[in-house]
């Protein structure tokens, strides 16, 4: 069966668009940490600097001993962190301040590694 040339670009666009939406079937957090198995308030932070598995693990570790944080899920490819927390113990501003604090390094320098772009 003869196929017109314009079918090829249509198939390519369909494959790319299909791939974009098929991602939803595979979406899972880069890291998932649960400190307390309960549901509090959920907030989504878009964070610059959250870009790979390593930075995501480090990011989560910043909240390991912070009271009021029930759990954190990170999605590195979307630069997204989902916090489950108790708003009576810690506010969104405090969560943001912790991630944006200067991080000391072994070579005695320090730098701001994470920057919050938006909060939902």
């Amino acid at each position: 069966m003869r196929v017109p040339g314009f079918v090829i670009p249509i198939l390519i666009v369909a494959a790319l668009v299909g791939g974009y939406f098929l991602r939803l079937a595979f979406t899972q957090p880069t890291t998932s940490v649960t400190h307390v198995d309960t549901t509090g308030r959920m907030s989504v932070f878009i964070v610059e600097g959250l870009k790979c598995r390593g930075t995501a693990s480090f990011f989560s570790s910043l909240y390991d001993s912070i009271p009021g944080i029930y759990g954190i899920e990170t999605y590195a490819t979307e630069h997204k962190a989902v916090f489950n927390y108790n708003p009576e113990m810690i506010g969104r501003d405090s969560i943001q301040a912790i991630m944006e604090a200067m991080i000391p390094f072994d070579d005695s320098t320090s730098a701001q590694v994470f920057k919050c772009i938006s909060v939902e």
């Binding site: 003869r2 090829i8 791939g19 991602r23 939803l24």
Partner: protein, 257 residues
């Protein structure tokens, strides 16, 4: 007239994709440009099966794009490579620039060409082995896609990355589609599926004058004039051969097994 139309459509799509990748690479958009690399899907498979997690910067989009593109390859061969891949597009432009400077472009003898093409399976094996072993994207430092769009970002390995990119660029000026032919690991992933390609170029023996224009115009040096149907794994359905054929309807895109 058809020459202009097919190539213009193909180049237009390539330019749009190249523009989108550049836009993402400049930091706009919600995801890194790496999130859209289909080869990342292959790199993430082992980690996904063994630990349930994606490696390094990889995510679900890499995997889903690889899967839908494999589907595309089964239907219409490596059309993604010829119509949309930014590196394929840059390789083709470099080949044309190089071609303009050569009086007669040196041609790699076909039996040697076949052997050198095995290099891309070596690249694939090395990339997957070390990515699976370390959980890091070790190919970054040697990957033209990453080096160009990240501007030698995190993961590049200094002078070695620069040499790799320069050698690849020089190679592309001498041999069209140099990277795609010999080094692209995504092409190696697609190879077995490309053989199945349902939509392919077919040649009508009764009207063919064996002028050889089709084979000469093929960016992958496929001897189209000797084939009844182009089942070659490297064919990207770019339609350059169809456009180059002086005999109307001799080369046609047809669907069939």
């Amino acid at each position: 007239m058809t020459t202009v139309k097919n190539r213009y459509v193909r180049y237009s799509i390539s330019v749009i994709i190249l523009g989108l990748v550049t836009y993402l690479a400049l930091g706009y958009g919600t995801r890194s440009f790496e999130a859209y690399c289909p080869f990342g899907g292959a790199e993430s498979l082992w980690g996904l099966f063994t630990t349930g997690n994606f490696s390094c910067t990889l995510g679900p989009l890499n995997l889903s794009l690889m899967l839908t593109l494999i589907g595309l390859v089964v239907i219409s061969k490596k059309s993604f490579c010829g119509w949309a891949c930014p590196i394929g597009f840059l390789g083709e432009l470099s080949g044309k620039m190089g071609g303009a400077t050569w009086k007669k472009r040196p041609k790699v003898p076909s039996h040697i060409n076949t052997w050198i093409k095995l290099l891309r399976y070596v690249v694939l094996a090395v990339a997957l082995f070390f990515t699976y072993r370390t959980g890091e994207l070790i190919l970054r430092g040697y990957d033209p896609f990453f080096l160009i769009f990240s501007g030698f970002g995190h993961g590049s390995i200094g002078i070695i990355s620069e040499i790799v990119l320069i050698m690849t660029a020089i190679g592309a000026l001498i041999i069209p589609m140099f990277f795609c032919r010999y080094l692209c690991p995504l092409g190696a992933v697609f190879d077995p599926f490309s053989k199945l390609g349902i939509i392919k170029i077919t040649r009508n023996d009764s009207t063919c004058t064996a002028c050889g224009n089709c084979g000469d115009s093929c960016p992958h040096d496929i001897p189209v004039q000797t084939l009844r149907a182009v089942r070659h794994r490297d064919c990207t359905n770019c339609l350059e051969c169809v456009d180059a054929c002086p005999e109307k309807n001799t080369l046609q895109l047809r669907a069939g097994l």
